[in-house]
Symmetry: C2
Subunit: 200 residues, 2 copies
């Protein structure tokens, strides 16, 4: 699907065919494309939880305002973030690069983040959203729809999925086969409320 | 451009044709597509600064590790976030919806965020990144490349662009006509480091 058409026609879909099973090849292709999203210093500080277990999906729905898409979409992705990614060996991220590039970039990562908890958190939320937006558009290219969600109890969800220390929840992203059209699209604010030129 | 091909071939480009001027129609089309990115409760809590003034671009480059793309790309977008979006009149976001939907959703927004500073900030970073990823892929569909950036002095940038109180900087996004290819793509972590199934 053409990218602009994809962006224009993507909608947050709330009702899915609960019988549809996503073929493993589609899931792996979605994961492959999602992982191509950019991240600062190539740290890849997002984490993708793929939830298919029906009992767990039901438990998650109960702490997510009973929203049907949590159980009915083919796959429930939960986008999370690794808040300690900057502490890893930089060659995990730059091992592929020429030594000269590694020598410059590797030593920059830790000092850039160390002790800056808000920056680390901001970065993690950004990375998970860059990956999640890529996943939403990739899903449509493969014939699926999606619904980004923050309407859930984060403590209850963290417990249900055993979220490790040092990780943060970002958002849920059910992906599946649409059973009902979306509501009318939310009106967009006027450009002069969202866009400024040169300076605020 | 096909979406999967777009995602696969998008790279962070650091060198641009400094002579290229983005036609106004392309800029407006990019802004239109970017605004179609989703946001929680349709709050549209991202803000897009479009920087074209050459003197300001030079000043921004000086506080962004002297990176050439800050001055040489056709347009420098700075993605920011409105941390007070949840305090607005909900009809700004839901005025288009049936009254029954407005009656449910409108009163939910303020209590969902009020007093939860970390959630507000997380949401703002997510929204700006969902918009930014949409902008990166839309740009490629229109024949441009981009380079998401956090390598800058945030205090100095905030001062130069007069960032208002209640707003947060998210990231810079130069968009322009590629003059040099990217480095080799950063290696992706193995799936078992990034993807988990059902529970961590």
């Amino acid at each position: 699907m053409n990218t602009s058409e994809n962006i224009e026609s993507r909608r947050s879909i709330k009702h899915y065919d609960p019988e549809h099973v996503m073929p493993e090849a589609d899931l792996q292709e979605l994961l492959r494309l999602t992982k191509l999203a950019p991240s600062s210093f190539n740290m890849q500080n997002y984490r993708i939880l793929v939830v298919r277990n029906p009992e767990l999906r039901q438990q998650l729905r109960e702490v997510a305002w009973d929203q049907a898409q949590v159980t009915d979409a083919s796959v429930l992705f939960i986008l999370c973030a690794d808040l300690k990614a900057h502490q890893a060996d930089p060659s995990d991220y730059w091992g592929h690069a020429p030594q000269a590039v590694q020598d410059i970039l590797g030593p920059m990562i830790k000092p850039f983040y160390d002790g800056k908890d808000q920056l680390i958190r901001d970065e993690a939320m950004r990375s998970s959203a860059l990956a999640g937006m890529t996943l939403m558009l990739a899903a449509r290219d493969l014939g699926y729809d999606s619904c980004p969600m923050v309407g859930f109890d984060p403590d209850a969800v963290s417990k249900l999925i055993n979220l490790p220390d040092g990780y943060a929840l970002s958002f849920m992203l059910p992906v599946g086969k649409k059973a009902e059209e979306a509501w009318d699209r939310g009106a967009r604010l006027a450009d002069d409320k969202v866009v400024s030129y040169d300076r605020f």
